[in-house]
Amino acid sequence: MKAAVIVFPGSNCDRDLKVALTQSMGREPAMVWHGDSELPDTDLIAIPGGFSYGDYLRAGAMAANSPIMREVVRKAESGTPVVAICNGFQIATETGMLPGALLRNASQKFVCKDVDLLVISENERFVGGFQQSQVVRFPVAHHDGNFYADADTLDELEAEGQIAFKYVTPEGEITDEANPNGSLNNIAGIYNKAGNVLGLMPHPERLISEVLGGTDGKTFFDHLVNSIV
């Protein structure tokens, strides 16, 4: 299997993603520069976290209009799986690949900590490595992770099974206290309608070894790779 990691000026989780994917795939992903207009032949596209273009204008706004993203959107529309993490999620909403937007955290503060997440959907490709309603733990590190969508879009996301993860207590309860950024309905990650694009604020690539404090992220990538191969 082949994967491509998109690299923007200001990306800072691209190499973490490379390590995580290499560990799960047994080969290195291609690192693709934002200014390129063509993607290599790939079975998975990963859009990393960071502060592409310094978050100028809005987080993800400039990156969404870079040459490579036109190609990423085209591939996503033809069914290639895309995982968009943190700044990647912001970029994916800015391109319109995913609905909604990520606003400044309600607390106004940068949030950096491990969070507990309820696995909501049955999207086999992305979360088949976990049980439905399992609580998993990934870290978050963001200033603009406050998921917003209008009421109709929110209802549709809930009704169509497009919500991937919600912020919860370690016991799996959806509470305001467990919500690190003010996201509507405690939403931490969503899919597009077709289910081949996942955007999430938490960082599975940062928890891929006991040395780093846990392996829920490794389970995520191992399953994703196996389901694509």
């Binding site: 204008l57 809005r58 706004a61 209009n65 909403t93 800015e94 609905p99 909604g100 937007a101 606003l103 400044r104 955290n105 309600a106 607390s107 106004q108 406050n146 917003y148 969508a149 209008d150 003010g182």
Partner: protein, 80 residues
Amino acid sequence: MKARVYISLKNGVLDPQGKAISHSLQGLGFKNVLDVRQGKTIDLDLADMDRERAEAEVEKMCQQLLANTVIENYSIELLD
């Protein structure tokens, strides 16, 4: 030709920066401040063209890049 674009968050979209500004103003003694919503302005210096065309072009810029219409409203003012 100069154009000014005003961008603000839509009603109902949480504006934590506006809230923080509001708290600070009240802390400074401006007790008449009930609420604050903040936004941004973008000044564009454009090549000479007729107003209609300029307006249409800036409108396109807002749709494609300058504003995120999921969360933001924008208005355009042509200055000369």
